[in-house]
Amino acid sequence: MPSGWTPAQPLIRMRDVHKKFGAATVINGISIDVMKGEVICIIGPSGAGKSTLLRCINALVPVDSGSITVEGQEVNDPKLDKLKLRRKVGMVFQQYNLFPHRTALANIMMAPLHVLKRDRVEVEAEARALMRKVRLDGKEHSYPGELSGGQQQRVAIARSLAMQPAAMLFDEVTAALDPETVKEVLVTIRELAEDGMTCVIVTHEMGFAREVADQIYFTDRGVVVEHGPPAEFFTNCRDERTRRFLSQIL
């Protein structure tokens, strides 16, 4: 396993990734580099394979061909140590997917306790700190069902952070939220980005993408149509498809 990864190389490196579901091609040759501390946003119409691409990065979905490396670890490898990979990459979902039978604090503590086998006292102190970080102190003992969508999503972010990942994947994390709670989640993600967390964000929030991203990738039908820094991307995109999409959504 090539472990000679240095921070000068891309933390996540995707090369010519292909993925089919049956006859449907979802990802048709995508190459993206994400440097350490970089924030990239992937935008594009639904069904463009954005969510699938994220799931390929942490091997929730196997790729058909191409290469994805995370800190030098090849994901497209039959002998892949999935658990080692997933300890490095946190993921937050559209539907939060908190564990409804455990309290917010317990949700955050579960993975460090059972996966990393760390000391309970230490883990609990960190979990409480994370609850403060996502501004939910006081809600430690609430069950997910007692929290609003935005609050649940922030617990989900804290739960992912508790594993101290090298990178975070966000899969349309505000798409299921009420408009008034979208902002609190976006603020949390922005603070993370400002702290230097490497983030891959799939989103439909163009304003947010423009504000937070270092690079924006527009994907359609399984390929990257266009990419660039936000200032450039939103003001003078060259591709017709990108322009049409932006005019529809902005």
């Binding site: 997917n97 579960m110 996966v115 992912s160 798409a175 299921a176 439909h204």
Partner: protein
């Protein structure tokens, strides 16, 4: 900002409606049973010859013995349920195993014990199991009721296995995804995330299964276990009064009803509560 993008609808709890024969323990049936019992006592008294003790007095006189037999029914149902549940959990995990051969074998076992007539399984257990086993140096006798309990535990096992499989498969896939993304191994995901949530879903059908096991325990009278049904037969033959026959069996039925009715009510109440939440 326009968003005409499809959004996943929030997850709805699927009822774990199960193909066990539905519970018959309703208040209406209870009232009908009581009326039938009273009517049969009344008719019996009219038929009784002069000088014989009244039906009611006879029934009450035998009640302590009947209670002893009934206690054995309950004990067998408890044990069969406990053994069957433990085995069924393991078998249910086999049904959802990643390895295909394990799944196939578990499926075969489940299908066999779910569909085999309970009485056939009882006979197999009675005839195939030894009357005593040697554990270490001690010889442990295996009385009929113990073997029958094993016989009842087998279909319980298969039904619990199906419950486990159904409950695990009804869990939203997001729970698996979230646990996997947090680097949980498969067994950890099952133990920490999936199964604890399944308990709630499985409880009502599991209680329903228990009520079915209770009413199945009189089957063991056929293989000679001295439970309430057998004792009722013994009582009737020692009394030798034909007018006692109908009231006595209805009386026994009432015992079962009184025991199972609260369980059935609780099952319905739980099901309703889980549907709401």
């Amino acid at each position: 900002m326009i968003s005409n993008l499809p959004v996943l609808k929030p997850f709805r709890l699927q009822s774990t409606a199960h193909d066990l024969p539905g519970s018959r323990f309703t208040a209406r049936n209870g009232i009908l049973l009581l009326i039938a019992l009273m009517l049969s006592i009344f008719v019996g008294e009219a038929q009784a010859g002069p000088g014989t003790p009244s039906i009611l007095a006879t029934i009450l006189r035998w009640t302590p013995l009947l209670a002893q037999g009934f206690a054995l029914n309950i004990a067998m149902s408890f044990l069969a349920m406990a053994i069957g549940t433990v085995l069924g959990l393991a078998l249910g995990l086999g049904l959802i195993a990643v390895t295909r051969p394990v799944r196939a074998i578990s499926w075969l076992i489940t299908q066999f014990f779910r569909n085999a007539p309970w009485l056939v399984l009882l006979f197999y257990c009675i005839l195939l199991m030894p009357f005593e086993v040697r554990i270490g140096g001690a010889i442990v006798p295996l009385p009929g009721w113990a073997k029958s309990t094993v016989g009842l535990a087998l279909p319980v096992m298969a039904n619990v296995a199906e419950l486990v499989r159904g409950a695990v498969q009804s869990m939203p896939s997001g729970q698996w995804e979230a646990a996997e993304a947090l680097a949980f191994a498969r067994l950890q995901t099952l133990r920490l995330v999936i199964l604890p949530q399944c308990v709630k879903r499985m409880t009502p059908p599991w209680m329903n299964l228990y009520a079915i096991v209770v009413v199945a325990t009189p089957l063991t009278s056929i293989v000679g276990v001295s439970e309430a049904m057998t004792l009722t037969g013994d009582i009737l033959s020692s009394e030798g009064r034909t007018e006692l026959l109908v009231p006595m069996y209805l009386y026994l039925l009432t015992w079962f009803f009184i025991y199972c009715y609260p369980i059935a009510r609780a099952t319905v109440a739980l099901e309703r509560r889980f549907q709401v939440s």
